[in-house]
Symmetry: D3
Subunit: 315 residues, 6 copies
């Protein structure tokens, strides 16, 4: 028993280490967070020595809660935990191995999804086109990279993405690939839009009615694309879709620290900073969402939630 406890403690220590990394954004990006959570649950299940199934479920539930608390509104984290924990087993051994298999499958699927989205989405890009992207989305860049690797001659326009300047990561990535890229400030998107053939962005959350929650500024770009009749393409792994929104939940928009925008707000008496991390793009401005399971109109979000996330309309 002592040994068991020790192991359990060790398991907990590692789990908490993962949680810390997520909170401090050492691990960041919706996909990487989700995979880290799945891995942590697998590991935690592996070291649990309890023999009582109920006790095992309790332990795992505790671990899941700790993980979920790190970023309470991240739907990819919540979907990952939910998928790993969805098991039916008659004893601890079977439960453990089911969780470990679920975790492996989730991680593998997540890794494959980015490639698959690249494959599906890149079919919509023609040689000679200019693509605008915002922030630094793994899935969106997968589409661009695949089009480039397939020999299509494309140009990219990348936004700075204030305040965190993820655009610099994006131009670094594209520069290494050898994709001709222009960097613009976020205020210059509408100006540049007449030269753009398609916009490709990622997703933090897709809601049940097809709205997109993504990096602040995304909804602005969607409106410019709409105004200029330019296709607006979202790249989103299916675990970015939010079942809870179907039950009416609103996605809470995280408010980030003022310091990201203004070094020293204490210099001012009447000034404060508003720094929302995300904004909401209405589905009317989205042409297509490329998932690893296919390219769908945003209004079909529920079908993804039902068929891929195993969620049902009930009352």
């Amino acid at each position: 028993m002592a040994e068991n406890d020790d192991i359990s403690v060790r398991g907990l220590a590692k789990l908490e280490d993962t949680c810390r990394k997520i909170q401090t954004m050492e691990i960041r990006g919706a996909g990487r967070i989700a995979r880290a959570a799945a891995g942590a649950l697998k590991e935690y299940a592996g070291v649990q020595q309890v023999e009582d199934l109920h006790r095992f479920h309790e332990e795992m539930g505790r671990a899941a809660d700790i993980l979920l608390a790190t970023r309470p509104t991240a739907v990819s984290l919540s979907n990952a935990v939910g998928m790993v924990m969805r098991i039916q087993a008659s004893d601890v051994a079977r439960a453990r191995s089911a969780i470990m298999e679920n975790a492996d499958r989730f991680i593998e699927n997540s890794l494959r999804a980015v490639d698959r989205i690249g494959e599906i989405g890149s079919k919509r890009i023609r040689s000679g086109e200019t693509i605008l992207t915002h922030c630094n989305s793994e899935a969106a860049l997968s589409i661009i990279a695949r089009a480039h690797r397939d020999g299509k001659e494309i140009d990219v326009i990348a936004t700075e993405s204030r305040p965190r300047m993820q655009g610099l990561l994006t131009i670094g990535f594209l520069d290494e690939l050898g994709v001709p890229t222009e960097l613009i400030v976020d205020s210059a998107v509408r100006s540049a839009m007449n030269d753009v053939d398609a916009v490709v962005v990622g997703a933090d959350v897709i809601t049940g009615n097809g709205s997109l929650v993504n990096k602040i500024g995304t909804s602005q770009i969607a409106l410019f694309a709409h105004e200029a009749r330019t296709p607006f393409i979202v790249a989103a792994e299916t675990y970015k879709f939010s079942p809870a929104t179907i039950m009416g939940e609103l996605v809470e928009i995280e408010e980030r620290p003022a310091e990201e925008v203004l070094k020293d707000a204490s210099l001012y008496r009447h000034v404060r900073v508003r720094n929302p991390a995300f904004d909401v793009t209405p589905h009317q401005y989205i042409d297509v969402i490329c998932t690893e399971a296919g390219a769908i109109p945003p209004e079909m979000s529920y079908v993804i939630i039902k068929e891929r996330l195993g969620w049902e309309l009930t009352d």
Copy 2:
């Protein structure tokens, strides 16, 4: 003659000093540049000793050309020079004093225009409203300051205005006035728009068909205001209106240095920066232009050009 020449040289030296300050942006802001040019012409006329009227006109024309070359596309500079030089005189003495009077009048009018715009524009702002502004426009802030001084309780949302961050000047100005102000990144404007009761911005140029050329990002904000049925108000002295655009001239959009956006572009092989200083807001997105002569719809731009700048439709 030697004396005359000396004086002329001294006149030229001072003129060229003013030009240098405009070019290096030591003197900046459309209004200040225009007033500096008017002042320089006055001074230059004052020191000219030639007695031949034709020779005098030649000298003054040369001075005007030197001034115009500092910022060839700035319509307020060109209007200022045109207004100062519009004289009819039968001898040098009368010509000199006409120019000097024109210059004085232009400077005085320009200074008064900002106040007058504040007075006219602030009537459109009600107590309790939230005003969004972009960049750091003297005329736009005059409207906000006047509303505040008149005891209206207003809040302001100010954008950063990348890449030059003029938003910091704006929050500094408003902080000193004691106006409650929020600073947001340029990507957060659409997000914030539902809390905004009116947008107030300045103008670099108003074209003959009522389009607005202003700080990059302005046209984006205009579109968000239009989408959300929020009034979009432009503050513009009448010398910001461009007669040349009626003859078909397009306003050239200045391309600024890459370094303003990206410290060291040489780190990248395939990346370049696009850094337009201005964008064009179509008149359909503008509710009203507040000038010192009244609040007009953008489509009435020609009337301003005709009645205030003395320009006529001819062929």
Copy 3:
């Protein structure tokens, strides 16, 4: 047999009494009508003494037809009757009890649906918001009441809803709840829209392509919300969705008596009244439909029809 007949007659008499109340609008509101019809069928099934299954089905079919004829185009009535009558049974006893169970379940579900819609829909309302509603919808008011009960500080703007002035019922209901409410004429909705954070209305019918048939004036409000980027939320029990529209049927808009609008039309020789009871809101103006099974985009109407009403695409 005589006894049976008597009972049958008594059954018929009660059924016809319910029908009369529906026709005279003593029983009114889509939900109450549907529940009354279900109850009448249950009661009618309970008193049928026939022993032949075929005869039983005939009798029940007759009762259903009589009920349906009272308001031939009310989809909630038709869905209620359809749901109650959907049975498979090998003898009369089983058929009777299946119908009675169906009726009980429908009534219970209907009652619960209003609560559930309130729970789901109220999540979309934040404290401090102003909600506009039209007419007097049980489901829409359930959302508002739930938000209020949950301690959210909300204000409501209610329309008169000419010609029947159901707005007076709405303000009475909200006054009792203690919700601060403003009453406006139907012509003042666009004027008031800039103060509105969300519109919440009910539904008479949701068609297969997501259009909303509701109280005259609803489509006007939807357009104002759309113009001002204000969310437009529909509260609709799933039995308001119309399977028949998928087969191309148009929902007929009931034309109400002239007297509702003009006391004495006979005073005029050239004037007539047009008094449609409903109008049609296109799905493009609807942000979300809150049903008891979840909040869906209008384009997902078919999924509700299929999964909740058991209807299939066939040819």
Copy 4:
């Protein structure tokens, strides 16, 4: 002198009687009010016996102020008074007769303007068309009546125009003319719009940027017309145009008594009535404004103000 005073008192008594009738709406309608004010000024000038020109101007100024105070925001009243009082005279006799002539001319012009608008506006109506009108505008009905008198077969749809039900006046007027007319509730306008070939409404105020201030509900109808590509025509005498709005003044929207909407608001604790008399239609929704001087686009409002009301852009 005593006699003079008496007369002056009598003059004042009559003037005040006119003011009372305007305030109590015994005299109502922008045109009738304006003509009554002109007539009162004429009469008042006629009975003034002072011989000192300065004193005469003081007296007349006092009378003008009294009249203006009756409906402080009615632009037609203010324009009428301004037009009558615009004189230059070297003695009282000439001043008196100038005022009296101005008053006569204003009244005559006002009467003729309605006819002229009918003539000009009716050219835009073709036989076979259906016209929708709102409230009860003299000028709008002049267009419809003229088209009818010219033998064009037209149908009219008239709104109730809650809360004051001016639609009943309109259908009475049209019934007498023999124009086939349909009465609808204000909520049914969008529903009816597909049958409408043109909308014709009147105006209370036209602002300097071409916006229309008119009976509550007008802006709703303009939006429906815009949505359905139906021409929206405004009938407005030139004295409805507001010079003050060019100097930034906002037109204050009169808030009418709650009793017009809700008989007894005291029955409710949490309910209040909002009853704005007018709303504002943006110029983008207006196709043409028919004045007695011609049919102009709303953006040309300033030209009317300048050429017809003698107002200039100045600073």
Copy 5:
């Protein structure tokens, strides 16, 4: 064996004859091509004498490939071949008869679908309406013809449909039916739109996100309908829906010969012809798609693809 070969050759000869007719457009129209392909596969299966199941599958696969190559991007051809070839059989006899049954069913269903679409779609047309149609679609005309046969008094406006002038086929068809029809040039559609109550067109392809690929000019008409709030109805058999587009495939727009537009392009040195056969109508402009399985909003395209074409979201 020799005999077998001969037969096989004969089978191939007939198959190739069908292919030639499709390529030369002797057989044309999506439905007719699809049925011809199904018939050819049936016939080809019928004459195959091989006894090895694997060999049989190879033969049939070869035949399918030859057919598909005739119009590589025609989704109805590809769906037809796919549906006929979808079999599971343990021996050649069963396989052969399964293919032959599939082919018969496809042909029968295809023929019935046009009737069924006419039945469903015509419910949306009211007596007294004017319908505009473009090109010469079997399914669209089925709706019009059915409405006419049901005794509804309808008028039709038909476009020329340059460059192939299929409008002449349409007016011939309607003339024979006795439907009053107006012929207009393609440039006159917007002009005529105010007289139109509904637009009805066919479909070449419906994509996974509900876009319509149809005869060049269709998207123009959809935009005019949208601008004027006129319903835009698409008539499309379910085998026009494209599963491949869900996997990101773009529908390639066929470029037709220059000679269709310009007799002799060789007369010009600097002129070339662009002659796309189709254009793409975004789903936002489509009100409803009438299929033989029901009338759906375009966003439900995936449901058709899944439920009717047996395709699933997978990765």
Copy 6:
């Protein structure tokens, strides 16, 4: 006298010859017709031998009426005649020479206007751009030709312009200039719009509220340009502006012969052709009108009418 009469007859004969050529479209194009009319009036004035001024005016009035009757709705014809006839003279000799000078000036101005429009309009075209044009407008092509002559590398897309196929004239003209040109059918404009940087078209009439009456199909193209945020530029000599429309006159749209569209309509019993020559483009879709006097927004139409055509707002 006999001689006079003879001369008069000869004058009349020549005048009538010009009229015949206009009617048969031997002389065609708004500019050429206007110049021919001016020339005919000059010639007619030159041969009149009457000595009585009143009689001379009568004769000239008769000639003007005959000319006007050839194309009663052509505003350029009516403006030309009006401009030539606008004289004040005390005797026949002076009247004659005034008319002859007016005619010379009109012709010269008209010829120069096309060049001047080319000069002004071409400033809005940048090297590398693709321009779409419709029909065969002298003024629109002047803009394109000037841009080409100025060394700008431009491509043109020209529509067929059914039914008269004036697009063939346009591609012939551009081919000779050496401008790379693509010919498309009228149905392919929206498809091509994403490749277009600006649309340039001519004008038959500009109305007082800035609407454009031009070749059928123009309003369609304007809508596509609007949808895609592409500038829509109108080239129009000032004598295309219609003073009469300010007085409410609607421009009658000429209905052309059915044979232009359908060779033999007698083959059909239920088919008729609708063949409007022009359509109306609302001013909201027009970015700028390039006249020889400057580039103006359409809403400034009245200013052109007033300042260039000498027309005033009066009642």
